[in-house]
C-alpha cells in the first residue's frame, strides 16, 4: 500500500521569510514520483514541483525547492521569500510506477502568510 503523511495540519510564516513543509511517504515500488500541489482558496490544484525518485538531485522551481531523502522516505518543501500569494493548502502526493495510476495525497498543510 502507498501512504503519504503530512504531520503539520497548519503552518504560518512571515512575508519574505522561509518555511518548510514536511511530508513522509511509503511505497514498496522502487520507481516512483513525488509532487507538491498547491490549492489556494479558489480550490484549483496547482502543481508546484515534481521529483523523480531515481534522481538524487533535489528539484527546484524558483522560490520552491525540495529536500528529498530517499532512505528516510522524506520529501519536504521549502518556500523561500514567502509571499502573500503563497497562502494555500499544500498537498504532498505520490505516484508509484507499476502500481495504480492514481496519485495518493497526504491530508494537506494549510499555510498562512502573515504580512
Amino acid at each position: 500500500a502507498q501512504t503519504v503523511t503530512q504531520s503539520q495540519p497548519e503552518m504560518s510564516v512571515q512575508e519574505a521569510e522561509t518555511v518548510t513543509l514536511s511530508c513522509t511517504y511509503d511505497t514498496s515500488e522502487s520507481d516512483y514520483y513525488l509532487f507538491w500541489y498547491k490549492q489556494p482558496p479558489s480550490r484549483q490544484m496547482i502543481l508546484v514541483i515534481r521529483q523523480e525518485a531515481y534522481k538524487q538531485q533535489n528539484a527546484t522551481e524558483n522560490r520552491f525547492s525540495v529536500n528529498f531523502q530517499k532512505a528516510a522516505k522524506s520529501f519536504s518543501l521549502k518556500i523561500s521569500d514567502s509571499q502573500l500569494g503563497d497562502a494555500a493548502m499544500y498537498f504532498c502526493a505520490l505516484y508509484s510506477k507499476g502500481g495504480s495510476e492514481k496519485l495518493v495525497f497526504g491530508k494537506g498543510t494549510k499555510l498562512t502568510v502573515n504580512p
Partner: protein, 112 residues
Amino acid sequence: AAGVIQSPRHLIKEKRETATLKCYPIPRHDTVYWYQQGPGQDPQFLISFYEKMQSDKGSIPDRFSAQQFSDYHSELNMSSLELGDSALYFCASSLSVPETQYFGPGTRLLVL
C-alpha cells in the same frame, strides 16, 4: 498554455437526480483521471482512462460511470445522487503515464 477544461463549474442537483460532468484534457494528453474532494479532505481517485480505455479504478461508487471519447474528452455520469456526493470533482490529464497530472478547475457539485 492550454489547461484542462471542466464543465459545468458549479452544479446543484436534488437527491436521486442524475449529473454529468465533462472534462476536456490538455491538447495531446491521452490520459484522463477523475478525483473527488470532499470538504476539508484530500482528493480521492475515482477512475482513469488511457487511449479511451479504462485503465484504473479507485473508490468509485457503482452509481457512477465514466468514459473517454474519441476526441479524448471524458464524462463522469453520476446517478441516484446522494447528499454525500456533494464534493469538488477534479479531472486531471497527463501525456501518458506516469507523466505529471495537471488538474482542471473542478466542478463543485451540491446535492440537496
